[in-house]
Subunit: 419 residues, 2 copies
């Protein structure tokens, strides 16, 4: 994550932390009672907007709508529901996504094209339309109330609206994933960035829906925002999601409303990019750490690669290997599985040059096992966070991926998800 | 598997069923006591030989030796051990593989270049050299005794030597995988084909070692044998092993010693190819069925694809999906996961045309869910064998893949494999 400036400050407020942003979460009863399941994120003014989407050929209905509404690089609201993916249900799915956007637009008096929609949950089941629209009405009304307070200067960033929004996008997640930071601008003011995410089923990272939402009060054109988002997602969210193996609903959206009055350039822009990357990395790690049934978190760093792409492929291949994951669960220093997963990653390397480390313990050198203390290995593997490092000794490129172990609990959770 | 001729006959004897082949299995104590762990397959005369190997960049030591010894398309013996993969241990691994071949060559008085070697087991641990070589000496001695009986016309194909060989190549396998068939040749005689295989960890099919060994007394040049083996493996063993995701030790070898006196051509050659495919398909299904911790077997058939490659990619992607596997374990008709796995397979199709069937029950049509009887779905999913069919309605190509469910038992087995 590079050098984090000491003047950067972690703050409360999640996606509502940046000036002019509001967020709420409500309980609409889409799938479960007593669970927040509709979130609304709103900017007081039209914002520059960027988005990245699943590469799965099978795409959920809201994804098409959001892509269309983002075409002009402008948006003002994001409405999200959990409990139903609104995917693979035919034309009614498109109608539901549109209706969700229309309710927000009507209540908040903005063009429907400025409303983005995201969903997560079970695929192929019709959305309980009345419940979700009622939830959106409630959320919109609450948000308008908050906004009136905000305009009166009574906006309370310690309010739990953003927190409830972060709760509302969760499915099998067990932890809320939200972060907000601010940094001082060279022009004298402060720029704030907020973010929230959800990720489930990440123990087999290639299929659980991953959603991420970022907000900032910096002023930045949508094309620039899109570039930063794309680059950042590749090194953060996409390093817990195997490339091309994304779900039908994955998306990450970023709104920049310029309410700080600060236009980004020079060092400020660099700081902004670094901070976006830091927040996305934290959210990505949160997702890996909260993998379904996970008892351990793993960070795999591959260095000495000829190309960045090779490093990424190998790091992700190791993180995604069921046999590495179960060995991690069993606290077994089975480096042969790590090496094997590297070998089928489709990346270029010379097996005879590879060093493998568990934490700071070398377990293989120049492609072959070395005598190592099983006791020390056991000690390292007993930690909740396990670091695996590979040095390919071929070049200068490196990459990091995050994952978790594969446990009995994962099988239990996923053996009965739909029913 | 096409039209199986009624004149084809399933027989006893496994890889030793074809004329002039012998096989034994012994207990060498490589990793466990009281387990067969060294197998020797031997042809009375030098045989035409073919092989296909892992595409993993990290390759086990015996693989290099076997490739070298097979370079001339000729071989006479195959020695296999389980309990140690002889992989990633440096130069000593090459020396061990060579020593294994040398002991066979010395005892059976054949050139060392005609001995092929395969290993399966834990990676990165030195082979207990004395134990494996002693085992090979015992196996060679026993085999010579059998051969003497054979030359005297006392060869007993119901002898359990081949069965013990099939036991000796197993690791976490719970069932022996061997088949033998004969068919009448148009020239008046009979041609016999035998096969055995091992496959473990196949629940995540891309990493467990898969070994297959085939024998026949047909007379066929090695180049032709290689073509048939390559084509067959692609549609059998490789359909339980995700492409490019093979282990460090995978290989399939085929010896044809011509002892039947029958040279293959015309219809006989076609029958031969069909029978090889049938045996390999049965062995592949055996492997899927015996996946680590598996409680269910799944067959995924994709039809209506534009290209064979598309059909194969989708079928394998579904079989390899952890979420499909856990849904199968939970007997949950979660067709959204099946569709999602198709979507990220990297194949071309139109999501809006896809029909999905569980057994004969349609669960999605034209890319969207249809109302189906949950009761009927439950009934289908309660069977030990579950059939999933996708019709892409794009073309004429189809492919079938095999897999199994992902269970608690899988996690237990693989959480403590090495230790």
């Amino acid at each position: 994550m590079g050098n984090v400036d000491e003047s950067w400050k972690s703050i409360e407020g999640g996606v509502a932390a940046p000036k002019g942003f509001y967020a709420v979460g409500v309980q609409a009863g889409i799938k479960y009672k007593d669970k927040y399941d509709v979130a609304l994120v709103f900017s007081q003014v039209q914002a520059q907007a960027a988005g990245v989407y699943t590469r799965n050929l099978v795409k959920a209905h809201p994804l098409y709508l959001t892509q269309r509404h983002l075409h002009d690089g402008l948006a003002q609201a994001i409405v999200i529901n959990s409990g139903n993916a609104n995917a693979c249900v035919g034309e009614s799915g498109d109608q539901v996504a549109l209706a969700m956007a229309e309710v927000v637009a009507m209540y908040t008096a903005i063009p429907v094209e400025d409303v983005l929609v995201a969903s997560t949950g079970v695929i192929g089941v019709e959305m309980p339309i009345e419940r979700v629209l009622n939830g959106i009405r409630t959320a919109s009304a609450e948000l308008l109330g908050d906004m009136v307070k905000g305009i009166r200067g009574q906006k309370d960033t310690t309010d739990d609206g953003a927190h409830r929004a972060a709760l509302a996008i969760m499915t099998t997640d067990t932890t809320v994933k939200e972060h907000a930071y601010e940094f001082p601008c060279s022009q004298g003011g402060v720029i704030t960035i907020g973010g929230m995410a959800k990720g489930s089923g990440m123990i087999h990272p290639n299929m659980g829906t991953m959603l991420g939402f970022l907000t900032t009060d910096a002023s930045i054109p949508s094309a620039e925002l899109q570039r930063i988002l794309r680059e950042t997602v590749d090194e953060s969210f996409n390093m817990v999601t195997v490339d091309g193996d994304t779900s039908t609903n994955d998306m990450v959206l970023f709104l920049a409303n310029g309410a700080s009055g600060m236009t980004l350039s020079g060092e400020d822009l660099l700081n902004f990019e670094k901070m976006v990357k830091m927040i996305c990395t934290q959210l990505a790690q949160d997702i890996a750490r909260d993998g379904e049934g996970a008892s351990k978190f793993m960070e795999v760093m591959v260095s000495g690669a000829k190309t960045k792409d090779d490093a990424r492929k190998i790091a992700r291949s190791i993180c995604g290997s069921s046999l590495v994951k179960t060995a991690l669960f069993g606290e077994d220093a089975n480096w042969g599985r790590i090496f094997t997963a590297a070998g089928y990653a489709g990346a270029e390397f010379d097996p005879q040059k590879v060093d493998i480390f568990l934490g700071d313990l070398v377990v293989a050198q120049a492609g072959r096992g070395v005598a190592f203390s099983e006791e020390k290995a056991k000690e390292i593997l007993q930690f909740k966070d396990v670091h695996i490092n590979l040095n390919l000794h071929l070049g200068e490129e490196c990459a990091t991926a995050w994952g978790c172990d594969l446990t009995h609990e994962y099988v239990t959770i996923n053996g009965s998800y739909r029913t």
